[in-house]
Symmetry: C2
Subunit: 453 residues, 2 copies
């Protein structure tokens, strides 16, 4: 597109001409930058879409790899049967589901970039180009008009100057002829007093002619002068009015038209770009939401980690291993009618003796038991201060159970036999020793756990 300068005469002040060219350059530059930005955005989203796809594929592979592995396990068969899993296995499955979900979401994201965001951006840059073309046409037209105005201003000024110059010269000529006429009059006047002989009549006749000529000349010059004066007046008026109009339109061009041209270039740019970016944002945000939802489900499963329920489930899973056998019944010998303890006088005393011995044993064991409980309570608090974690409590109860059953085992292994033999003394000592020992062991274990607990 040719610059306005070319088409117009050179009466336009050069600095104005330069500015007009500069303005078109700015518009072009602006749109170039805009198109460049849009291009960058498209490249950016294209590349990011690739990255997302790859990420999604990797996650999918990861989930698939472990899913395939677990599908074969007994747990999974169980899961398919009654949906009832050991709580840690449940967490594991949900973890894999979460990865799968993330994979899907990132795939969607990548797809959205390619098929929505980028498309929008392409359209926007096409429109920017179209709008620039249109705006430049408008600018060109406006600048053309401005040029014409400026040239016109120059022309009318020149006209005014020319007419004024002519007026000046016309006035000078008028004054000149007036002076000559005056001199002629003066001569005829002076020579009228002393009569001279011979030529007096012809002379008088000549003088009268000259005076008449002079007067005609003056009239002609006077007319010329006033005609020029009127021309000047009109030209000056024209010049002044044009000057006003030009200043007005120059002002309008700079203050109103130029901003409007820029707006014309911007037409729809911001809103379309905003829509494109909003699409990107909403895609990202819904990915967030989905991810968060998945994590919350997983969080629930972690909350639901429950040793007691898992133990029950284990017992249920292996009934043959854990269901108690039938009670052992009394096998009477042939024809023996008696099937309960008989306390005839001959055995009475012995039974009583054994009873008292058992009672004393029981008393001692009760005391030891109390000691064990106290020691355990201490260890409990000790470990607790190390862990600072509420979730430990069930485990600690378990520990207490363990000590108590270790201890009661000793007790039953004593009483079960229902006889006191020296050998059992070791067992008793063992019963006294074991729990506290275990306490130490568990104490260490706890400290161990606490290190990364």
């Amino acid at each position: 597109m040719s610059t306005p300068v070319s088409s117009s005469s050179l009466y336009v002040p050069p600095y104005v001409r330069a500015q007009l060219v500069e303005q078109q350059r700015c518009l072009e530059q602006q749109t170039e930058m805009r198109v460049q930005l849009l291009q960058d955005l498209q490249d950016f989203f294209r590349k990011k879409s690739e990255i997302e796809t790859e990420y999604s594929r990797n996650l999918e592979k990861l989930a698939e790899r472990f899913m395939a592995k677990t599908r074969s396990t007994k747990d999974h068969q169980q899961y398919k049967k009654d949906q009832n899993l050991l709580s840690p296995v449940n967490c594991w499955y949900l973890l894999l589901n979460q990865v799968r979900r993330e994979s899907k979401d990132h795939a969607t994201l990548s797809d959205l970039y390619l098929n929505n965001v980028i498309t929008r951006l392409t359209h926007i840059s096409e429109d920017s180009a179209r709008l620039l073309k249109r705006s430049k046409e408008i600018t060109f037209q406006l600048q053309e008009d401005l040029m014409k105005l400026l040239n016109e201003l120059y022309t009318v000024m020149k006209t005014y100057h020319m007419y004024h110059a002519e007026t000046i010269s016309a006035e000078a000529k008028l004054r000149e002829v007036e002076r000559q006429e005056g001199r002629v009059k003066g001569v005829s006047g002076s020579g009228g007093v002393e009569p001279v002989f011979g030529l007096r009549i012809e002379e008088r006749h000549q003088r009268r002619n000259a005076a008449r000529k002079m007067e005609k000349m003056r009239e002609k010059r006077k007319a010329k002068y006033s005609e020029n004066k009127l021309k000047t007046l009109k030209a000056r008026n024209e010049y002044l009015l044009t000057l006003e109009a030009t200043n007005a339109s120059v002002f309008k061009y700079y203050i109103h038209d130029l901003p409007d041209i820029i707006d014309c270039c911007d037409l729809g740019y911001h809103s379309s770009l905003s829509r494109a970016l909003r699409t990107y944002l909403s895609a990202e945000l819904s990915l967030e939401a989905s991810r968060r939802a998945g994590l919350e489900v997983l969080e629930g499963a972690v909350e639901g980690l429950d040793p007691a329920r898992d133990r029950q489930r284990l017992l249920g899973l292996y009934p043959t291993a854990f269901c108690p056998p039938a009670r052992f019944s009394f096998q009477a010998h042939m024809g023996d009618m008696v099937n309960q303890i008989a306390a005839q006088p001959q055995v009475q005393s012995e039974l009583t003796l054994r009873l008292t011995q058992l009672q004393t044993r029981l008393a001692t064991l009760k005391i030891e038991n109390e000691e064990v409980r106290r020691t355990h309570a201490r260890t409990h608090t000790h470990t607790h201060t190390h862990t600072h974690i509420q979730t430990c409590t069930p485990t600690q109860t378990t520990a207490s159970d363990t000590f108590w059953f270790l201890f009661s085992v000793m007790l039953i292994s004593e009483t079960g036999g229902l006889k006191i033999i020296p050998a059992t003394n070791n067992k008793i000592r063992k019963a006294q020793r074991l729990p506290s020992e275990d306490l130490l062991e568990y104490g260490e274990l706890w400290d161990g756990l606490c290190k990364y607990g």
Copy 2:
């Protein structure tokens, strides 16, 4: 570890023995599954950590690539200078920042997996192994005790049966001797009436001896019998008591001890696993939070897309191009004192004529102007119904400005000249034509925009 069966006699019912072995197998299997799960979790997190690292690296590359590109641009220099950017460029920068942020966050995530989650899991599986060892020891001990009890039960039962059998035989023997004694007594009684000569004294002597022997024998057998009866009584009592005790301890083993052993295996497993998974969860959630925060910033920037402010900024950026030139002043010709419009009688009429002509022109233009406004309003609503988007409003105002300035340009190019010449009639027609034409163009453009708006 040898099974309890080996160490004990074979008096234990085989189904019980099988069950005890099964129990140990279950515990081992349980721990194996657990260790396997923990192993899977570690592999999973190791692999995911790799994926995250790669993802993070790709994002970093992406951001860096465009950052480097923009750093060189004039905009960026400007940005560094006054932090004032065209709103779209601002969005672009924030978009890159967001990607960078995501890259950092995913790197952190990967790091957390490696150095925290996986470590925890390793420790847990070590502990599981340690606890299994300890639990199996306890189980072994408990089962040993149970075996002893069962063997003991068997023994006391056998003892009771033996003694009872002896008692029965002793009783039989007693009855036998009593019968013989009776027969002897009968013989001596019958032969005492008729005296016979010669041998009678020796015979009587022999019979008395036989009777005495018999009696001694009976006494002996009787004592033996009652001794056996007492033994049987004691053995039966022993058997009955042992039976009770055994049933009690079997019950205790199955109902209390086995669950406790399982708890002993579980000691701390659930709580440590929960802590490990919570670490993972909190890492993921803080990544979410950071990402969301970044997106909100970006959302703010998109909100702030503002054509008006950008236009002002552009005008400010190129002052030389857009600042209006000085007013053109009146250039008086040499010695001309008059510098304003003079209305001498000779030009008066002409000026008035022109004034009226201008007024009529202005009136027509005003009417055309109104028409244009109406047409534009219609197009405005038309496009609006097509877009349904609030964000368009600024743009539409822009459009209206554009029409208005296109129109006013025509107006000034008319009035500016301050003369009526036939040539301008085209211009007037143009002024009437242009806006509506443009309206169509913009209408199309809008429909275009709306297609993906």
